[in-house]
Structures are given as C-alpha cells and as structure tokens.
C-alpha cells in the first residue's frame, strides 16, 4: 500500500493509568477504504485506543493522526470526519429514533432540510423505517445497534469506527449488521475500523486485522498471514495420522533433520520440528505408498490463535 493511502496512523501511541499500561507503543496504519479489525480480548486496550484516536482521551506518549490531523491537538477536525459507534451505545430513551438522529445532525451543524432527507435515507438503509417514530426505549438491542450505525452515518464520515458492533445481538442481527458494515466499505468507500473480541464474526468481513493483547499489537495483517506471524520463531507442532504401522512411519521420518521430538498416542503422531516440514513429509509418505489420514499444523489457524490469546482473556500462555 502507498504511503498517501494511510488514513489512520499511530506512532508509539501509549496510554498509562496510574502505572497500568493500557496501550503500549502502538504503531498502526490503516489504509483508505479497507475494513480493519482490531481484535483482542476484553481489557486489551481497544476502546482506549479508539478514544485516543478521537481525541477523547489524551495519550501519555506518542501520536495519532487521522487524515493527517493530530488527534490530540485538533479533535474538532478529526471528529468531523470520523463517525464513532461506542460499545453499549446509548440513546435518549424518551426520544424517537428519528429525534435522536436529528439531534446528532444538529450537533454536526447540518442544514435542516438536508438533515431530514438524510435521516429518512439512513433509517431506510438500516431497516428501521417502521420503528423510526417509536421511542428508543422500545427498541431491541439489535435495533439500537442499527440505529447507532445510522447515527454514525448522519455526518457522512470518511472513517467509521465501530466498537464491539455485534456484541449481544442475535445471530440474525449479527448477519444484518455485518452486511451493513460491508456495504460501508464496498459501496460507500469508507474506511472502517472495527474493534471486537468476537473474532469469528469479524474475520469474515475484515480485509486486515490486528491482534491486540494487553495493550500490544502482537500481529497485524491479512488473516491468512496472521498465524504465521504469531507462530514465527516458535517450534512447529504437527499432528499427523498415517495409514501404516507405527514403526514404518518412525523409520520414514528419521531422515528429517528438523524434527526434534515425536510423540505417539492412539494412532496420532505429534511431531515437534524447527520449521514447517509438511510439504516434504507428505511427499515422503506418498512415495512410500501410504495414505495420509490427518495432517494439521497446530497454532496455524485462527482457532488456535483464538484459544491461545482470547479464551484466556488476555493471559498469554
């Protein structure tokens, strides 16, 4: 990606609260038009990062830029191009959905006629036409989230930041929400930053993701490459099941120098090696005429990353 396509940029962004480091030297670049997923367990510092991007919290160290504006020095400029959906978004319960949107539009200093048209358009887009004149107090959680999306889009932002947009809504609602978010990027050409701990939901729609644990970005890139980044330098663990005798297999793998250790349990071999030897191993098995029943590189897919970093709520094993 070219330098001039960078929309959001942070340089050594750090936030400490009384000795506790919420965000540690974050360096992040988000490019124009992409959907970037900031994934991490609860308490990893995602929301703090977002608040610093919006100029709502001052960083202890480092800088953040959105569209070239310094987020701390020039929050007005940043907030006029960024739409932000907070986690647990709240609306004025005794106002209708439309009235809530109108208030946001007024805060953005929008022209009243344009605002009304835009409200109607957005209400329809998020599928709330029938409930638009009901008080928000009667809305379900999914409807609130969708109203939140409309609220974010009122000011026609170039950048949309969504904090846990799918949290606590039903599977059908999640589907709707994800398709709305995808539209934001593909049809409207907006840059989208999603923060979430629900990796499985978010990975479907993100172009790139960053994995954020304990205030540090431990991996960042396209989902396919992530696992490699995370497991880089660590010994590889290979699960393999082959349709042959145990001894035959052991003699077959003897020729591989990279292998450190082999364990056997109920027909399943676990091979620890210095590098990825899948290709060579499969070729060797084929040449002997055995058939391969199961092969899996542990730590290589998102499920492993997930269980490693997320399920433990940020405790790195």
């Amino acid at each position: 990606m070219k330098e001039n396509n960078v929309v959001i940029k942070t340089e050594n962004l750090t936030k400490r609260y009384n000795g506790f480091t919420a965000v540690n030297k974050l360096n992040l670049e988000i490019y124009k038009g992409e959907i970037f997923g900031l994934l991490g367990p609860n308490g990893a510092g995602k929301t703090t990062t977002i608040l610093m991007l919006l100029g709502l919290t001052e960083p202890t160290e480092g800088k953040a830029y959105i569209e070239g504006y310094d987020c701390t020095r020039n929050p007005m400029a940043v907030k006029s191009v960024v739409g932000y959906l907070p986690d647990n978004v709240g609306f004025y319960e005794d106002l209708t959905g439309k009235e809530n949107l109108r208030y946001t539009g007024q805060l953005n200093g929008m022209d009243p006629d344009k605002l009304e048209k835009r409200i109607d358009m957005l209400i329809e887009r998020v599928g709330l036409t029938e409930a638009a004149d009901n008080k928000v107090g009667t809305y379900s959680r999914g409807m609130r989230q969708r109203l939140g999306i409309a609220d974010v889009l009122i000011k026609d932002p170039k950048i949309v930041i969504l904090d846990e947009p799918t949290l606590g809504i039903d599977p059908e609602g999640v589907k709707q929400m994800l398709s709305i978010i995808t539209q934001l990027s593909i049809e409207d050409k907006r840059t989208v930053l999603i923060s979430s701990h629900l990796l499985h939901q978010i990975q479907q729609i993100c172009n790139r993701v960053g994995i954020f644990v304990r205030g540090e970005l431990i991996a960042c890139g396209q989902i396919e490459n992530l696992a490699e980044q995370v497991s880089e330098g660590k010994p590889k663990e290979l699960e393999i099941r082959v349709d042959c005798e145990k001894e035959d297999f052991l003699s077959l793998v003897k020729g591989f120098d990279a292998i450190d250790d082999i364990k056997y349990q109920a027909g399943l071999f676990t091979i620890t090696s210095k590098k990825d030897i899948r290709k060579e191993l499969v070729a060797a098995i084929n040449s002997k005429g055995y058939s391969l029943m199961h092969l899996r590189l542990r730590g290589a897919d998102l499920d492993d990353i997930y269980s490693q970093y997320f399920a433990g709520e940020g405790v790195i094993k």
Binding site: L51, K79, S80, Q106, L107, N108
Partner: protein, 344 residues
C-alpha cells in the same frame, strides 16, 4: 466574533451564540456555535418536557400563591403596624397567619429547583451511554457543561419571572394596591438574586453529577447539602459561637454583641442565610442594618426607610458572595469535566 469585555457585549455574544444564525468566522467556529446551540436547545426541551420540572414548578407555584394569599389577608394589620410605605412588597416579605413569607419559601425551595435540574446532568448521560456518542460529534467538550448550565439558568429564570409576575398579579387583585416604580425595581432585584441563588444550587448539583457515578448518590448529596445549609447551619453557628465566645445572663453587652456577630458571620457561610438577608433587605426598605446593634448606636436615628441604592449597598457583599460561590462551583465542574475520563 470575540467575546466582549463589558457585560452588555457578553450578553450580546451569548445571545448570538445561542439564538442567532450568523456567518462563520473560522473553520470550526460555526460548528462550535451550532453544537452549543443544539445542546442548549435540547436541554431546554428536555427540561420543559420532564415530569420532574412539572412537579417542582407545581410545588413552588402552589406554595408561592398560598403564601402571597396568606400575606394579603394580614396586610391590613401590617399596614397599621408599620405604616403604608411599600405595601406591595409586604406581600412578598411578610408572613401571614399560617404560612411563611414568599421570600422564605423561595429561600427554602429554590435549592430544590436548582438541584432537580442538575443532579443527573452528566452521570445520567454516562449511565445511558449517550455522553460518548455526543462527545464524538464535532463539538467542544465544554459545550456540554456550558449548554447544560445555560439551559438550566434559562429554565429557572423563566420560572422565577413567571412566578413573581403571577403572584404579584394575584396580590394586586387581592389587595387592590398597584406597585410603585421603586417596588417594581426592588422586585426585579429580588428576581435577579433569586436566579443567582438557584444557579448556585444548579452548579453544585452539576458538580455532584460529575463527582458521583450514580444519579441517586448525586441527588442525595445535593439534598444533604441543601438541608444542612437550610436547617442546621443556623443551629450550628449558635453552637460554635457559644463555644468560642461563651456568654451567660450576666455577660456584658459587648460580649453578647461579639457572640451575636460571630454567630451571624458563621451562619453566613450558608447561601440560604445570605439569600435570606439579601432578599429581606431588598424587599423591606425599613431594614437599615443587618444584625444586632447597641441601643447607643441607634440613638438619634430617624425612623424611616432606606433608599434603593442604600439597600443594595447593604447587601452588596451578599450578592457578590452568592455570585462568587456560583462561579466557583461552575469552575470546579468545568475543570472536573474537562479532565475526567470519558470511559463509562
């Protein structure tokens, strides 16, 4: 457009900011102004629609009307006793047979108005999760506090003016006495002091809504301070004064006087006492001095009333203290809000 230096210029600026459409001066100047205006209007609409406002208004209106009615019944007696100067003002300052005076009611219930308008101003928005959404819009952070304060003051001003006009009208009907020009001016001053007094409580409740997470806590804190100042401060001042300057029946007059002065000054910590003294002096021109004096000091004084300027001069410290306390509370709220973390 810059904020002017004189009060008139400042008021003009405020008016333009809140109500007029004007061309922008710098890139975000227009946005800032529109944001503040939107906030102000929203708060105003919220107040007028809220049941809370209706309840407080009813409470104040009923007690106000009842007290003026009660005062009007005893007005003949009062005229006979004290002469017929400033009879119209007596409707507001004198208590009837059964009820305290209008001014005393406002002194007691005014804080409730201020507290009820502000106790959940910020923490309420935080609990509902609306604050971070509002602050993510291109407005300045202080616009939220400013908008809420200005809307509260506006509501209280409308309320006070309407109430004084209503009970004044009722008084004219009941007694048949129209107010003189000086009485009208004194009533206007009374309204201004009342608004400042209520604003002080609004600022205090705003501060509590920033300091406490729960709206119930901030409401309770406000009520505690209110009751303390309205009821216990006077009692406490007596206790402290007696401890510092002990007196008994055989004490010399100077010592008793010293004790009384001390007691009065301590009780003046309470904004309610300040307000009581200020409004009593403004509404009753016959009050020439606040606190006790020796007989020798009063010797040779010609009984009569104070001109308006002298009445104002007598309570000038009271008025400035009330304004100062209001400003301190507001400044504290402002600082706390600007430094507070937004995270819910």
């Amino acid at each position: 457009m810059s904020v002017g230096t004189t009060i008139a210029e400042k008021l003009k600026w405020l008016y333009k900011v809140l109500l007029e459409d004007e061309e922008p001066q710098d890139d975000y100047g227009e946005l800032k102004r529109k944001g503040l205006r939107a906030l102000y209007r929203k708060e105003l609409a919220d107040h007028f629609r809220s049941k809370r406002f209706l309840i407080v208004l009813l409470l104040i209106a009923v007690t106000g009307i009842a007290s003026v009615y009660s005062a009007s019944l005893g007005i003949g007696e009062a005229v006979m006793e004290e002469g017929n100067d400033f009879v119209f003002l007596k409707l507001f300052s004198s208590s009837g047979e059964a009820l305290p005076s209008f001014a005393a009611f406002i002194s007691f219930l005014g804080p409730l108005v201020g507290l009820s308008l502000g106790f959940d101003a910020i923490n309420g928005e935080k609990t509902r999760g609306t604050l971070s959404r509002v602050l993510a819009q291109p407005i300045h952070r202080d616009a939220v506090v400013n908008g809420k304060f200005l809307a509260g003051v506006t509501v209280m001003s409308i309320m006070t003016v309407a109430l004084v006009l209503a009970v004044g009208g009722l008084g004219i009907i009941l007694t048949g006495i129209p107010p003189s020009l000086e009485e009208v001016i004194r009533l206007l001053l009374f309204i201004v002091i009342t608004i400042i007094y209520m604003s002080l409580w609004l600022c205090l409740s705003l501060l509590f809504s920033l300091l406490f997470r729960q709206t119930a806590t901030s409401a309770l804190a406000g009520i505690a301070v209110w009751l303390f100042f309205a009821i216990f401060m006077g009692l406490l001042a007596g206790l402290i004064a007696n401890a510092i300057v002990p007196i008994d029946e055989s004490s010399p007059a100077t010592l008793i006087l010293k004790n009384q002065h001390l007691q009065q000054n301590i009780s003046r910590i309470s904004p309610s006492i300040l307000y009581d003294e200020a409004t009593a002096t403004i509404l009753n021109p016959a009050i020439r001095v606040l606190g006790p004096i020796l007989v020798t000091q009063a010797e040779g004084a010609i009984p009569g009333t104070l001109p308006l300027g002298q009445s104002v001069l007598l309570v000038w410290p009271h008025i400035t203290s009330l304004i100062a306390a209001t400003m301190i509370c507001f400044a504290l709220s402002y600082i706390v809000f600007m430094r507070q973390e937004i995270r819910a």
